[in-house]
């Protein structure tokens, strides 16, 4: 692989608290150094990145790549193509595939497919329970040996508190987090949006905030009981934020994520029965959005994760009750977050990069999230002055389901390197 030099960019590395103009030479797939005026020996592919931001590649701990089982809406190849286009160099693939990723062979398949695609790194997440049925523990040990970095029954809550307890205990042996989709099913079943004034007006069945918070509370109590590492997926309520804050003050091993859409949209997006605003957990209220933003700022919530959830183009073309939950997010996550949170004055750019790269890598104990010399050269170069309009027809993902279509956003990745190899380069004006 030809050595490469990223010359003259604003280098931001939250892992070393670094923010300044520097060159980043890349050799043998690794970051060789970070410094000013390092010069360019012959044969080096020199990239002039003056005016651009050079950061550790983004890391998404929560995506659905749909392979195996639903290759019509996404494959590991198309999903990782979308990932690198969005500046992500590593993604964690949720196990709600068909068949469920609940054994070492299934984990190995994902690892091999990702290697074949050769784009973003894919870290599989194994199922907590066999078939995600919530009954018997899956073989965590074999799955971790095959490449799994966490366990989760995401898409479904772990209803049995006994199962959650044993998962937290058993996972300790292998040093992986147990990621939970927090939803108390007897309160939430049949719900299609947040329970509040908007659901009352639209006549849609609501899911109360308490349905999430009860399970967050339970998981935190079980984390205390077991000493295990619980990772709370896609937090959506201010009540959850309060519970997590208290747990972190107590010193429990808890990490949490929030999606770009829960940080930027409210249940009002469901007006007009827009099925692109149907997700689980649902979009909540303005006070929840404000609490989630503050929690992200202060590290109560560790990271942003996209919960990239592709669906067929016509699946959302249905009555609200009948449409599936979820939206795609890999190709809009950074720009939505930058536009709303950085330009909105909530986070600094280094803070946003920390929340989308360094912190998620740390939460799941993944390599990456750092530009330290010797680290794998997983790097994103960002143009934070670019304005572009979201046109789902241009997505690299096979799916188009996004509530951000038509939005004008600021910032986009212009170059993504994985292991030193350019896997995405934006050309001209189209992202």
């Amino acid at each position: 692989m030809r050595p490469l030099l990223l010359q003259g960019g604003r280098v931001i590395d939250p892992s070393r608290d670094l923010d300044g103009t520097a060159d980043v030479p890349v050799q043998d797939g690794k970051i060789a150094a970070v410094g000013a005026g390092l010069g360019s020996p012959d044969g080096v592919d020199v990239r002039d990145v003056r005016g651009r931001v050079v950061a550790p590649g983004l890391v998404d701990v929560h995506v659905h790549l749909r392979e195996p089982g639903n290759e019509d809406v996404e494959t590991i190849a198309s999903g990782t193509r979308a990932a690198v286009a969005g500046g992500f160099t590593a993604v964690c693939a949720m196990p709600n595939t068909d068949p469920v990723t609940d054994n070492q062979a299934a984990v190995g398949f994902i690892v091999r497919q990702a290697a074949r695609a050769g784009l973003a790194r894919v870290y599989p997440i194994g199922a907590i329970s066999v078939g995600q049925r919530g009954e018997h523990l899956s073989e965590f040990g074999e799955m971790v040996a095959a490449g799994a970095v966490a366990v989760s029954d995401d898409g479904k809550p772990v209803v049995s508190s006994h199962l959650m307890r044993t998962a937290l205990e058993y996972a300790r042996t292998f040093g992986v987090p147990v990621a939970d989709h927090c939803e108390e099913p007897t309160l939430a079943t049949g719900g299609v949006m947040h329970e509040g004034l908007v659901s009352t007006r639209l006549g849609l069945k609501g899911m109360p905030a308490a349905a999430e918070e009860i399970m967050v509370g339970r998981d935190l109590l079980l984390a205390e009981l077991t000493g295990g590492h619980v990772h709370l997926c896609h937090m959506s309520t201010r009540g959850s934020v309060d519970l997590i804050r208290r747990a972190k003050e107590q010193g429990l091993r808890v990490t949490a994520e929030v999606t770009p859409h829960h940080l930027t949209l409210t249940d009002h997006a469901c007006e007009g029965y827009d099925t692109h605003a149907k997700m689980n957990p649902p979009l909540r209220e303005a006070a929840d959005v404000a609490a989630l933003r503050a929690a992200l700022k202060h590290g109560v919530i560790d990271c942003i994760a996209s919960d990239h959830a592709p669906h067929a183009y016509d699946a959302k073309e249905a009555a609200f009750d009948d449409a599936p939950f979820g939206i795609v997010g890999l190709e809009t996550a950074f720009a939505v977050a930058y536009t709303e949170l950085v330009l909105g004055g909530v986070l600094t750019l280094p803070e946003l990069i920390a929340r989308m790269s360094t912190a998620p890598a740390a939460a799941f104990r993944l390599p990456g999230g750092s530009l330290a010399p010797g680290a794998p050269a997983d790097i994103v170069v960002l143009d934070v002055t670019a304005h572009w309009t979201v046109d789902p027809a241009h997505f690299h993902s096979k799916s188009r389901n996004t509530p951000f279509a038509g939005r004008t956003l600021t910032a986009r990745p212009v170059l993504t390197l994985v292991g030193g190899a350019p896997v995405h380069e934006a050309d001209g004006s189209t992202p």
Binding site: S199, T200, R201, L204, P208, D314, E317, A319, F320, D322
Partner: protein, 321 residues
């Protein structure tokens, strides 16, 4: 011609008070058509209307069908019950197929909230919502408004209380919007388990005891309590519901004034309403049914582009066929 109501009638939430009054005023001359020996005017001759009912209905479907036939429209009834055709995918296909047959109007009832708007957004034909999930049932609220106006000579300033299962009721939502827009005070009464979140923020008063509601109200609109609410655990038993919330003669006898009794039907006698109340002199329940035809004629006429000021003339000028 641009119709004064827009293309579709999906609900009352987004109509103005002027538009609602216009429908009620337009219904007045149409009442007379149903009193004639030959109950037909040519206002919608040559128009084709599909009554698309994804949910069982007797009263609403027949009322629409009479309204259509008395306006001389050609009508087709599609009863698409059964789970396989209630899915959204089929709703898209249904919309496209209807459009391909070049129809003029669709009257739709569907178990999913938003289904009428979904259809209206996808076809050029006019769409009338005959009840979508728990969202709205605008023609029911319009006939309720017309009946209140007939009985009391006005709507503004009246106190109207909706009693029962507000949570699951599209009739309640449409009534709340319509009554508030026309200046009535609106109350809701029922157990908290059957009240939607934030209902007070819509501008209605909340009563937890039926006695207080009766003392307050000029009009009680008693909603049907569906038996499945008990099965789903929202109330412990129909017997207790009747004892705590039932609209009975004894309770009405203690009211400070005559209270007009309405019910959108079909009634569960002895569950939400005492038979003697339903059949009593203050009940306007059958007048509601009669007004239903006139209101639906007015809605169809206006959506088809009919000019409100000509509704009366249109009825008289043309000889009945």
């Amino acid at each position: 011609m641009t119709a004064v109501l827009g293309k579709d009638l999906v609900g009352l939430e987004h109509l103005s008070s002027e538009q609602i009054r216009l429908i009620l005023d337009t219904a007045e001359p149409f009442k007379e058509v149903s009193e004639r020996p030959i109950k037909k005017v040519p206002a919608l001759r040559g128009k084709t209307i599909v009554n698309l009912f994804f949910e069982a209905s007797t009263r609403t479907r027949i009322s629409f069908e009479f309204a259509e036939k008395r306006l001389s429209a050609d009508t087709v009834n599609v009863a698409a019950s059964g789970s396989s055709v209630q899915k959204g995918e089929t709703l898209v296909d249904t919309a496209k197929n209807l459009e391909a047959m070049r129809i003029d109007m669709v009257v739709i009832r569907h178990p999913s909230s938003g289904a009428a708007q979904f259809l209206g957004d996808r076809i050029r034909s006019n769409v009338v919502n005959a009840g979508d999930g728990q969202h709205e049932h605008p023609t029911q609220a319009l006939l309720d408004l017309l009946t209140i106006r007939d009985r009391h000579g006005k709507i503004a300033g009246l106190k109207v209380c909706l009693v029962g299962d507000i949570l699951h009721s599209r009739v309640a939502r449409s009534n709340i919007w319509g009554l508030l827009k026309l200046g009535a005070e609106v109350g809701v009464c029922g157990p908290d388990t059957l009240m939607p979140r934030g209902i007070e923020q819509l501008g209605v008063c909340r009563f937890r005891r039926i006695e207080e509601a009766i003392e307050w109200a000029d009009v009680l609109n008693v909603l049907r309590l569906q038996l499945e609410r008990m099965e789903r655990g929202f109330i412990p038993s129909l017997r207790e519901y009747y004892r705590v919330f039932g609209v009975t003669v004894e309770r009405l006898d203690r009211a400070p004034r005559e209270v007009t009794i309405m019910h959108p039907g079909p009634m569960n006698r002895g569950v939400e309403i005492d038979s003697r109340v339903a059949d009593g002199s203050h009940s306007v329940i059958l007048a509601q049914v009669t007004n239903g035809v006139a209101v639906r004629m007015a809605v169809l006429y206006l959506l088809a582009g009919g000019r409100p000021e000509l509704a009366d003339a249109a009825n008289r000028a043309a000889a009945p066929e």
